[in-house]
Every structure is written in C-alpha cells, then in structure tokens.
C-alpha cells in the first residue's frame, strides 16, 4: 500500500511528500517529550502497557496471551484489545528481541525506561504511522477527487492534527493504526471499492474495539449501497461479496483463537469489561457532566446505568444512521461517522477522553466542506484532553502543536481571515485566488470571534491548571471545569453537525 501510494503521489504532486515529511518531523519532535507514566511506579502508564504486551506476546504461547496465569498477571496491564493489536505487539517484540533481548525479558523488563528502549518504542509508533496512517491519509485525500489545493489541505489537516500526534507520540499509543485503517476504509468506499472497504474496516475493528463507534455507519452505508443496486441479483451479489470480505477478515484474524472456544471467551471478557463503571477520569460527556449536579453513579445501580446509556445512545444513533441507510452517499457516510462517534462519546458507558479522536478524524476528513467548524472541533477535541496531557507533562508539546496546526491551516486556507474580511472589506485580502478557501460569508462574522473566545477559555483553563492549586474541597476542580467546558463544545457540535446532515441550513451556513 505504501509503495503504490508514494508512486501515485509522486506522479501527481511532490508537495504531498513535503506534507507527509512535515508530519513525520512533527511526530518525531513530539516523541521527544515525556510519555505516559514516565517514572511513576508501580503501574506506570500506557507506555509500559504496550511494552508489557510485547513482553507477553513474545515470551508466552498464544493460548496464554489473554489468560490469567502465573506468568501473565492480567491485573498488571493485561491485554484488552483485539487480536490484531496482539499480533502487532508480537511483531514489535520480535524486533525488540533482535535489537536487545532485555527489552522483552519476561518479568525482568517491567518498568524499563532506558534511553535506548525509549528510542525503540518511539520508533515503533513512527514506523506504524509511516506504514498505515500516512498512506491512508494520502489515499483518502486523493480519493476525494478535488482540486490539488484541497487535497493538500485535507492531507495536511489529517497528518498534522495535534490530538493524534500528542496521544500516539506523546502519551504513547497506536491509535494511528486503527484510525488509519478506518480512514483507508473510507477512502476505499469513496472509490467504490466496497468489499475492500469492508475488509479494511474489519481490520480496524480487530485492532481496537473502540472502532465499534464507527461500525453502524459503515454497516448502514454498505447495506444502503447494496439495496440501491439496479437488480435484485446485483444487490445480493454485492452483499455476498461484502459479507464474504468481512467474514474472511474476521476469520483470518481470529483463527488462532477459534481453535478453542475457551480462548475466544477469554478475549471477549478482556475486550468488554462491564465491571469498570460509568466513567473513570473526568470525561467531557453527558453522564460525567450530569454527575456534577446529579450523582448518577451513587443514585442508580450499574445495571440501570448501563440500560440508560444503551437507550440514549441507541436513540441518538438512529436518526443519522437511518438517513445514511436511505441516502448512502460518501458525504453522508463521513457525517454519520462523526455523528455516531460523537453520540457514543456523549452517551455511552465507560468512555475515555481519548475516544474523542474517533469523532475528530471524521471531522478532519470533512474539512474541505466545513473548514471553520472542522478546525474548531479539532482544536476543541485536542484541548479537551488537557487534564490527561498535563498529567503526562505534555503541556509544551500541546501548546506548540496546537499553535502550529492553527497557524498552518490558516495560512493554507485563510479560514480564520474570512471573518475579518467580511467585517472589513477594505483591508487587503490575503487570498487573491480562491485556492480552496471559503468565500466571505455572514456566519463567519460571529463564528471566528467565537472560536477565538473558545480558545482563550481553554488557554485560561490551562494556565490556571498549572499555576493555581485547586481548593481543598474540590481537588479535581480543574479537570472537571475542562471537561464541562469541552462538553458544552461537543454538545454544540453534536447539534450543529446533525442539523447540517439533515440540511436545516441553507447554503450560507453550509460553509462554516
């Protein structure tokens, strides 16, 4: 996939490679900052979890990967992602053993934080992005079939998005793989390669079960496309192809685990732990915000809460996905991906603040159509993770990448200038030709100042979080304030993007 993508890109426009190179440079730069759980024994953080999985998959037989044994203590970062993550860890572990066996020594390598090992771990994320996310982003940008300027812009937005940079290369995770596979699936669907898209999304789902947030839109789009074929036979044929691709992909990934039913059950138990509660840290969703005034966790049983979450999520999922089923266009697919992910984020059970990335990527993919709101959402999603980023000592990286992203996007598209242009038409405009930038429109008269105001709010919150210590009665005051502030943003976007999808706005507002 990489070589084909590169060749295609080189033939089209060498600037694509420049954008990708810039993305690589920023990734490397962020990776110089601290990772999650650095120097924090005994549990450390996500970085140690990933290292531990390399250790477990390298040393133990496959049957024991998800099983609690003397050699595999599931309470110390047990594997809780589907098998594809386990295979990836196995691969990295194999390379690690070649480089330096002490990296994956069973039990002895716990809490390892030497500079060489750190370099190795950071390199694995970079390589994963190089092989999966960056080609997928390029594929998607090209698959949009828009002008060169728009392709470059969408590529830049996807590749430079600070939230993903900070979580993957700062905090340390491999979201780029699952999100990259999802983006590639969307690209395949844009190019009418439905079976390929289904297979790619199945891979994404088998890498991280969080991709279930995106499952319904993909399903409705594919079903809708099948139903819209000219003949009944064609519909069935297409459905069969897609079904076969999905089943085959799942089968191949799960093959070693289907040999013994017990193994599959163990994996399932790790993937869906229902005993963990409504939410852990402060998260910018509906239930956590409600809990500030109405203590949901204390007033209801776990079963009642679970059914509340299920019903609200299901309720809000219906409109957007039914619309997609009725009108399966790529544009609707992207909007449904965004709306579904946002629904799950706001109303579902056991949501982490990192899950906002699942809504942010579709928003980034929609950048050409709604530049201002997309930019705003991307910034809000990054900054909503401030409590997590501050805990990891990533404030400097956050500020740098966010500022860079905003300035770069504005330089490329003039998105933040539209307001000024509409307000003061006598000023010399920066864009003499419309290279994909939005025309001056009345909605940006209030939207751009509102964006700046929202960013100022985040800046104030960040500043107070690091300088002022919270009062004794409310030790979690700053994270709660950040999540409430972000919830307000996400609720607003939830409404906005639904209205967009149902075309409540006329042409003027669509550009926002």
């Amino acid at each position: 996939m990489v070589i084909i993508a590169v060749q295609r890109a080189l033939k089209m426009d060498s600037r694509y490679l420049l954008v990708l190179g810039l993305g690589l440079l920023l990734r490397w730069a962020v990776s110089l900052h601290p990772h999650s759980g650095q120097r924090k024994p005994p549990m450390f953080g996500d970085y140690e979890a990933q290292r531990h999985w390399m250790e477990v998959t390298h040393n133990l037989p496959l049957a024991d990967w998800y099983r609690n044994t003397t050699d595999n203590d599931l309470l110390y970062w047990g594997l809780d992602y589907p098998p594809l993550t386990a295979y990836h860890s196995y691969l990295c572990g194999a390379v690690a053993a070649r480089v330096d066996p002490s990296f994956v020594a069973l039990h002895a390598s716990r809490g390892l934080e030497t500079p060489e090992h750190r370099l190795f771990m950071r390199a694995t994320v970079l390589v994963a992005d190089l092989l999966v996310f960056l080609p997928a982003a390029l594929w998607f940008a090209v698959a949009l079939r828009r002008s060169r300027a728009v392709t470059l812009t969408v590529l830049a937005v996807l590749v430079l998005y600070p939230g993903l940079l900070l979580i993957d290369h700062g905090h340390f995770q491999y979201n780029g793989v699952s999100l990259g596979l999802m983006v590639a699936a969307a690209a395949a669907l844009l190019g009418r390669r439905d079976a390929t898209g289904a297979a790619l999304f199945s891979l994404a789902l088998n890498y991280k079960q969080m991709e279930l947030y995106h499952a319904l839109p993909f399903f409705c789009y594919l079903l809708g496309t099948c139903l819209r074929q000219r003949t009944w036979a064609a519909s069935v044929g297409k459905l069969a192809k897609i079904g076969a691709a999905t089943v085959l992909t799942f089968g191949l990934v799960w093959l070693p685990f289907l040999v013994d039913a017990q193994r599959a059950v163990e994996v399932g138990a790790r993937l869906f732990p229902f005993n963990r509660g409504l939410f852990e840290d402060k998260v910018a969703n509906f239930w956590c915000s409600l809990s500030v005034v109405y203590k949901v966790k204390q007033l209801h049983s776990v079963a009642a809460i679970a059914s509340m979450c299920l019903s609200t999520t299901a309720l809000f999922l219906l409109p957007t996905n039914l619309l997609l089923l009725a009108d399966p266009t790529p544009h609707n697919l992207l909007l449904s991906l965004l709306n579904s992910a946002l629904t799950f984020f706001l109303f579902s059970f056991q949501v982490h603040e990192k899950s906002i990335l699942l809504a942010a990527l579709p928003a980034a993919m929609l950048f050409p159509d709604y530049p201002l709101s997309s930019l705003w959402f991307l910034l809000a999603s990054t900054l909503s993770m401030l409590p997590l980023l501050l805990k990891d000592d990533l404030l400097l990286a956050t500020v740098a990448t966010t500022v860079f992203f905003t300035v770069a996007v504005n330089m490329a598209t003039g998105v933040l200038d539209a307001g000024r242009r509409a307000a003061a038409p006598k000023q010399r405009s920066r864009l003499t030709t419309t290279s994909g930038g939005p025309p001056a429109d009345p909605c940006s008269r209030w939207a751009v100042p509102a964006l700046y105001l929202s960013l100022t709010g985040y800046a104030v919150l960040a500043l107070t979080s690091v300088t002022v210590s919270p009062p004794e009665r409310y030790p979690d005051l700053w994270p709660v304030l950040v999540s409430l502030y972000s919830f307000a943003h996400f609720a607003g976007f939830f409404l906005y993007y639904h209205l967009i999808q149902f075309q409540f706005f006329d042409e003027k507002f669509k550009v926002c």
């Binding site: 190179g21 440079l25 060489e116 400097l396 003499t432």
Partner: protein, 428 residues
C-alpha cells in the same frame, strides 16, 4: 542559573528559558525577512508570496533550526540584523545599513568576513562619486564624516567599558585565537579538507616507498582534538597565509562590485561570495559559518532561476555537513528530515532555471542523501564502527566540500559572465 560557578547547570526551567530566548530573538529574523521580501515582486496566493517563501527558507531553514534551536546559538538574530542591513541598503539608506552592520560586527566578529563587501560598496556609492565622463573618484567629505561617526560611535559604545577597564588586549586575544589549528576537530567542508587529505595521502605514499616522515603521528588531525598541528609533508599553513588567500579570492567579487555602482543584487552577491571565500580558505573555520553564505543566498534565489539552482545545491550540502552537530541517536531523524524537507521545499518553491539540471547535479544530490544516511546509520550498520570511527565525518566533510567549492566557482562564473545589471538604488 546566573551564578558564575554553576558550570553545566541545566535545570528544565533554565533550558526552557534559554530556548525561549532563541525563539524570541528569531523575531529579528522575521523582521529582516519581511523587509527583504518586500523588495521582491510577487503575485499569486498567500502561500506562494515572496514573504512566505523566504520565511520558510530562513525561519524554517534546516540549518538554522539545527544550529540555533537544537545545538543552541543565536544566529537567527544575527542573520536577521544582516538582512535588515541589506534591506536598508537596497533602499539607499546607507547610514542605517552601516549602523546595523556595525552593530552586527560588535555582536559576532565572524561578520568581519563580510566587511570588505560593505567597505567597497559604501566607498563606491556613498563616500565618493565618479562623474559620468571620467574615472577619478571625487570624495564626498560630508558623507564620509557621517559614516565614520556612525561606525566609530557604535564601536565606541561597545568597546568603551573594556577600554576603560584595560581589558582590550584580553578581549582581542579571546576574539582571535590563533592557536586552535587550521581545522576544527570536525573538518568544515572547505579547501583545507583537500589539503589535509593530500597531506595524509602523501604521508601514506611516502611510507609505502619506505621514506620516513618526521612528525607524522597516526591520528594527528582526525583524532578529534582541537590543537595546532603541522602538516607532515606539504608546507605548513599559517594564519597569515589563509588571510592572504581569502583576501585574494575575494578580490574579483570586490572589483565587480566596484564596477557595478548602485546595484543591490550585486552587493548581495558580493556578500555571499565574501562569506564563501573566507569559509573556504579561512583559519579554523567552523562548519556553522556556511550559514552566513546560505541564508542571504536565499534572497537572491527568490528572483533568479540559476541562483535558485545554486542555492539548492549549496543549502543541501551545508545542511548535510551540519548533520554531525547532532550526534545523539534520538536526533538522527531530525538531520535527515530537516535537510530533506528543506531541499524538497526549495526545489518546488523557488523559480526554475532554464533547462533541466545536469546529470552531475542530480547525481551529486542523490549522493548527498546517501552520505547523510551513511553518517547516521550506515557506518554502524556496516560494522565499521570500531575500526575507522572518523570515516563518516571524513566522508561527509569531503563530499560536502566538493559541493561548496562547486557553488563558489559557479557563483563566480555567474557573477562575472552571466548576470546583467539589476535594479539600481537611488543614491542620495
């Protein structure tokens, strides 16, 4: 962090503070870029305007990022002052230009390399006039007096406290240390690389022939130590000789400058040439000094295809030669990505020259990439780490020196035979 005894004090807050000062001082570079870019006509979108392109090539210059923001220096500030001075010169504001240059001289004396160009240009265009009919220069006493006042005034302000405290000899000896040897521990890619190599080969050849050579120890110059070491077979090079050679090399550029009055582009070309001459032939040159030639060349490259092509080659060679500054393993991707991105951007943002580049040109650039990768991981991957540890540095110096020398000669050719007169400054 301000206590004198606290050597190597590096708390995180100190590091953050110092890094931020470099970033803040880059605003001067931003001002310089803006002033210079405004002299270049531009059209098209914002992203392809001369201002943005020049900013990307200077503020985003791989060399400046590597030296200023990673290695840590304040070259951005200084080059910004140089660009401001040049911008004033293009608008005929000679006194302001001289003022900024003198300030620059008093901040880093390496800019003495560029002083001859300033001297000749100011002399020709401000201190004397040559009437249309004749050749005899007529001195402009008022102008000369004003210029002298500005220059001496700045020097006076800067040096007065040290003169008053009797510290001037000490100052001079710190500023101009001649005991450090012809080359730095890492050979800057200049002419002396070839001279050193020739000497080493001569020694090797002599030994094979059975001739004993006195005073030639095994790793006298490549051992990585900063010391004054004599060449074994070839004649020893003295500081005075390097000085004379640099001056001689600069002469054609200065003569051309004299003969092209009120030509701002010619002035900038002369500046770049002076920087290159002294880089190639000077005493104890640091590889960072190449930036003095590369960054101003970007201003010329914005307007002219042939110069853009030269800029691409020179900047690529310069950035690869700066790579060894970042020797830590975790900085390795930076060297390759920064240099590659800079070259890629320059290739597509600068004006194209007529006709495709020659095979040698593209071959050299490909070789540069290979050398860079070899220096970063190739040498270790081949397992040669223990036997010849100096080899990657030697190869880098040598290969980049070839590129720099070529650019120097090509720029001379361009300056002397190709270029026509540029826009004239209004002489006041």
């Amino acid at each position: 962090m301000l206590e004198v005894q606290n050597l190597n004090y590096a708390s995180p807050a100190t590091i953050l503070f110092q890094r931020l000062t470099v970033i803040a001082s880059d605003f001067v570079l931003l001002v310089g870029v803006k002033k210079c870019a405004d002299t270049v006509p531009g059209q098209g979108t914002y992203l392809t305007s001369p201002r943005v392109r020049l900013a990307a090539l200077t503020l985003g210059s791989a060399g400046l990022i590597m030296v200023d923001h990673i290695h840590f220096q304040y070259n951005g500030l200084l080059i910004g002052l140089l660009l401001i001075s040049y911008a004033h010169m293009t608008q005929g504001r000679f006194l302001k230009s001289a003022f900024f240059f003198t300030v620059l001289l008093n901040m880093k004396h390496i800019f003495l390399y560029l002083a001859p160009a300033y001297f000749v240009f100011l002399l020709r265009n401000y201190c004397v006039t040559i009437p249309a009919g004749g050749w005899l220069p007529r001195p402009q006493l008022a102008n000369t007096a004003k210029l002298g006042l500005v220059v001496l005034g700045v020097f006076g302000l800067s040096l007065a406290p040290f003169v008053a405290l009797g510290q001037l000899p000490q100052l001079v000896s710190r500023l101009f240390p001649f005991k450090r040897g012809l080359c730095h521990a890492y050979w800057a890619p200049n002419i002396w690389v070839f001279y050193n190599l020739a000497d080493k080969l001569a020694v090797f050849g002599a030994r094979q022939l059975g001739v004993s050579v006195p005073g030639s120890s095994a790793a006298s110059m490549t051992g990585g130590l900063v010391q004054d070491v004599e060449h074994a077979l070839l004649p020893a090079v003295r500081p005075a000789a390097t000085f004379a050679l640099s001056a001689a090399a600069m002469l054609p550029a200065l003569v051309t400058l004299w003969r092209r009055p009120a030509d701002a582009a010619a002035f900038l070309r002369a500046l770049v040439q002076c920087a290159l001459c002294s880089f190639l032939l000077g005493w104890h040159v640091h590889e960072k000094a190449v930036l003095l030639a590369v960054v101003p060349l970007a201003v010329l490259a914005l307007r002219s295809g042939p110069e853009a092509r030269l800029y691409l080659l020179l900047s690529a060679a310069a950035h690869v030669s700066l790579g060894p500054l970042l020797f830590a393993g975790r900085e390795a991707p930076a060297r390759l990505l920064l240099a590659g991105l800079h070259a890629g951007y320059a290739a597509q943002a600068l004006p194209a020259a007529a006709g495709p580049p020659s095979r040698a040109y593209t071959g050299y650039l490909a070789g540069l990439a290979a050398v860079a990768v070899y220096d970063v991981i190739g040498h270790r991957a081949l397992g040669l780490d223990g036997r010849w540890p100096f080899l990657p540095l030697l190869v880098t110096s040598l290969y980049c020196a070839v590129g720099v020398v070529y650019c120097w000669l090509a720029l001379y050719w361009h300056m002397l035979f190709r270029v026509e007169g540029g826009q004239k400054i209004k002489v006041r």
